[in-house]
Amino acid sequence: MHLLDFIHQLLPFTRDWADWFVYVLMVFFFAFAILNTLVAPLTGISTYIERRLAGRAQYRWGPNRVGFRSLLSALPLTRGLTKLADVQPIKFIGSKIPGGLLQFAADGLKLFTKEDIIPSGADSFLFRLAPYVVMAGSFAAFAVFPVSFWCSATNLNIGIFYVIGISSLVVPGVLMSGWASANKWALYGGMRAASQIVSYEIPVAISLMTVVMLTGSMNMNDIVASQLSGYGIEKAGLLGWNVFRYGGLLVVPFVVYFIGGCAEVNRTPFDLPEAESELVAGYHTEYSGFRWSFFFMAEYANMFAVGAIATTMFLGGPLPPYPAAFTEGLPMLARFGEGFFWFFVKSYFFVLVMIHMRWTLPRYRIDQLMHLCWKVLIPIALLWFVIMCGVKMWRMEQNLPKHPAAAAAGAHR
């Protein structure tokens, strides 16, 4: 369903307005909602979860226990009020707040009020410009994700190809921040990030192309729709998901995609661009305060995007694991919520996997990284693409009528 139809159904009075006005307004709200319910809070939630997991993984309990008092001491103005935190009723309320939750608030406040430093040697114009480019590249990909049943902000025909294209804006953005910082480590980190992202783009794109080839469409909503049925069952639920179809052959591109995706967002074990033992913090070494937090937000948005693409292309997107027939009778808003729930849960699962990977695996060396990309992932992805083409051909051959003229009459749309 087109977003416009959905809006007309939801708010009937908008039918009389000029369509483009409603469309722009609604997409604006939709995008704003995605920005504010997915990207920004996700960064917060993910930070919280990551901190807790990291604390457990490293026996570093601090961030799990931070409470009310540290929040007060985060700001100069409220610092005098820290004595208040020891007054009995306030202390009681403060102690009821779950451990570590206020760390996230304190972090946000700290970033928001921190001194904004642009180094004297830096190219101040490009230094300010770089976060815009990176953020635009990572946020614009969200435009085509089917966040619920046949509902995405825009329903582009070239869906997945658009995502691959627009996210390549990140690469010059990263190089721009590295160059403008006038810092050796930042420049070197930018170089590493750029060459890593572009290298891993190839296995990722080839494994996504495998799905496009099997589906015959690049539209993400069509790809989701094609996963409704599988193994000859209409509304097959779990069995219709791409990883479980074709006898599970698509698990290989899925794994290739996920490894490549982890490398594209520069997370451990592929976090060479920001390896703190070698390159301080990589391309955003010189960024501080709120300006830095945009890079951080872009990283978490990218992590979610990797999960969302994996979900859409391989795990049925917003489709539930039970047959869709179970909930077809529900009212529209409930259906929307159901789709969004499954999309979010599946996508966020990948974010959690990435967070766990960070605290489990050691970092790669750069030669190992390139070895993995060029000598393992790309040959496997190419080979599997050809194999899946063969499988698809074999299946289509079985379904075709034998006479070519009949085929022409029957198969052409």
Binding site: W20, D123, L126, L129, V133, L156, N157, I158, F161, Y162, I164, G165, I166, S168, L169, V171, P172, L175, M176, W179, L187, M191, A194, V198, E201, M218
Partner: protein, 177 residues
């Protein structure tokens, strides 16, 4: 209704078009005249992006995404790497010298004027067509009449790959790893 050269300014899309056109033109000019080679390169980013926007206005969505992928994600990154590899440390800020700017400007202006004259005076046989999806049409053309160029382009890419790798290897040897 105000219309400039067929551009209806009452349509909000026209203003978006003008914005993209302005970005493309201004950044292309910046590429040509900037004194700093890195600024030239990052202006090229804006030019490529603006051109991709113009492709969307021409209903060529697949090529717009391809433009982003190949030009911004590939060629521009390569150019930036090239700049950072081949420029000396001292002259990175003012590094984009020009020779004969006046002569060059005269030639460029002449070319522009001739092309503009032709494109404005020619009576183009314009056809009004509803927008259509392009990706599968391109695929059909690749598999139909353009099958030989499609396969030949892989040979071209193979040549480029081998040639570039050979050149890079040679200069690496010279450098002494």
């Amino acid at each position: 209704m105000i219309a400039v050269l067929g551009l209806q300014l009452s349509n909000p899309g026209a203003w978006v078009f003008l914005a993209f056109a302005a970005v493309t033109v201004a950044s292309a000019l910046m590429v040509a005249v900037s004194r700093n080679i890195v600024y030239s390169a990052f202006s090229l980013l804006l030019t490529f992006f603006g051109v991709a926007g113009l492709y969307v206005f021409l209903d060529a969505d697949f090529l717009a995404a391809a433009q982003l992928l190949v030009y911004i994600g590939g060629i521009l990154v390569l150019i930036l790497f090239g700049i950072m590899l081949t420029n000396k440390i001292r002259d990175i800020h003012v590094s984009n010298d020009t020779t004969n700017p006046i002569l060059g400007a005269v030639v460029a202006a002449g070319i522009f004027l001739v092309l503009a004259y032709v494109s404005l005076r020619c009576d183009w046989q314009v056809e009004d067509r509803p927008p259509a999806a392009t990706a599968h049409e391109i695929g059909r053309a690749f598999m139909g009449r353009y099958l030989l160029p499609f396969e030949a382009s892989s040979v071209l890419l193979l040549g480029a790959l081998i040639g570039a790798a050979y050149l890079a290897r040679r200069s690496e040897k010279k450098e002494g790893a």
